[in-house]
Symmetry: C2
Subunit: 306 residues, 2 copies
Amino acid sequence: MLEVCLLGTGGMMPLPGRFLTACMTRCNGSSLLIDCGEGTQVAIRKKGWSCHDIDVICITHWHGDHVSGLPGLLLSMGNSERTRPVTLIGPKGIADVVNALRIIAPELPFAVEYRELTENKEQIEFPGYTVEAFRVSHNIVCYGYTQRISRAGKFDPEKAKKNAVPMKVWSRLQKGQTVEEDGIVYTQDMILGPQRKGLKLTYCTDTRPIRQIAACAEGADLFICEGMYGEPGSEAKAKDHKHMTFAEAAALAAHANVAELWLTHYSPSLAYPKAFEWVAKELFANSRTCRDGYTKMLEFEKDEEK
Amino acid sequence: MLEVCLLGTGGMMPLPGRFLTACMTRCNGSSLLIDCGEGTQVAIRKKGWSCHDIDVICITHWHGDHVSGLPGLLLSMGNSERTRPVTLIGPKGIADVVNALRIIAPELPFAVEYRELTENKEQIEFPGYTVEAFRVSHNIVCYGYTQRISRAGKFDPEKAKKNAVPMKVWSRLQKGQTVEEDGIVYTQDMILGPQRKGLKLTYCTDTRPIRQIAACAEGADLFICEGMYGEPGSEAKAKDHKHMTFAEAAALAAHANVAELWLTHYSPSLAYPKAFEWVAKELFANSRTCRDGYTKMLEFEKDEEK
């Protein structure tokens, strides 16, 4: 299971009643945050979630509205007595930018580890999930992110017996351990059926709708995508500012065969995004103009009954 | 007249429903801001005031909760098409700290001018008012600020006649101009009565209640002072953390003979400051535990009727 909260939906500047766009996910006691603008820590508190368990922070790019809340968040994580290291992932220069911002957060009770992105696509493994970063197309270097949770096959007692796996090691193998008994090594694949469909969340903001995004979002359970402008006729403005319209985001979602699209990163001039939700729905039915704090639990598919 | 808004009342970290402590004043089309934590620009927008006209920003000290919103505010001021320079006043190191934070706000359409404080007391003149900075006692270098508006004497036609000032230059002199006519120089003091009482606002947070604060706040029309802890018995905690209790702030207000005290900079653990307002009122009757956005227009005293 992966719990996803779109903490904020604004672009450019934080507004009363609209936090800057950021997304937080939780699974197995570990949280991941994508972007951290001014006020993101307040959005986390308002949601009732904790900043203490944020193990990974992915930054899309170095525009202020995506990173200005980072020193404050790190300070609050320190105040919450976090001691485990935090991994920060972001475009080239991440250590320089974050160290500069940390002039007001110099002392933290945990280590900050940097993972600088330099390739067009990179994959980073964490316990329980994988993060895939992919270059998008903005006016400065910008990345989108996919969080992927794989799912092991179902326990298959017939297969276990066929492979002569002693019953007493079954539960340890199911937990993912490798077990040696009487000189024989037993592994999880000896008792499990074929790998099942996992979960996939793809997130991107601050980009034109390039083909690679659809490829990276292919088949996602949830695609969170910027829609800076909603009203029909705003394509030229979106192109000028290297952003997307609702229609462009919805076309990407359709092309990528995702299950659901959440629109976010609204221009401050877009007071009622819902008024233009129909524009997206015409191109991709399962589109939604989100409000701050919108949350969903992504769940694994139910196994078919025999 | 001086319009004063206490934009936020929180200390340490921004909370849902409680912005970080900051104060904004407006007079004659020019605004002054004291401190700029994460979210201060949102508080300004929520109040309906504009960041465009902020000519002076005073920073008390370099703890994150007092300065983390600065890059975002500067970006928003840039987006509001401000081109006039902004003066930033703060403790030693101001240029280094702000330039570091500006890694995410490198390009602004206005100049940022720094005024670094190095003395225990400094006075800086701006058109229409004076800023007095004074050292307070925190665990890092920290300053309080007084904004003072002086008020010229009342126009005195008898005095003007006595000084043989031609009637045709009266209005220009009243506007503060110096006028030369037929080789004679006329100045404002030749037509005005004695200087009248002006306006004085004194602001300090993040300090122990040292004597110098009372001296600097002496006779202020409004004294905005931190009260990190409200409940009786919190003196030791306040001393440890180099902050003040409501009682300590109220005692300072009484000692300084101010007209009114606003308490602010509440600990996140202090959910209902109003519940302890009585503690301050016992020592200084005109005390108030403020909420975010509390505003007052300080007005000049009415002239006595003849």
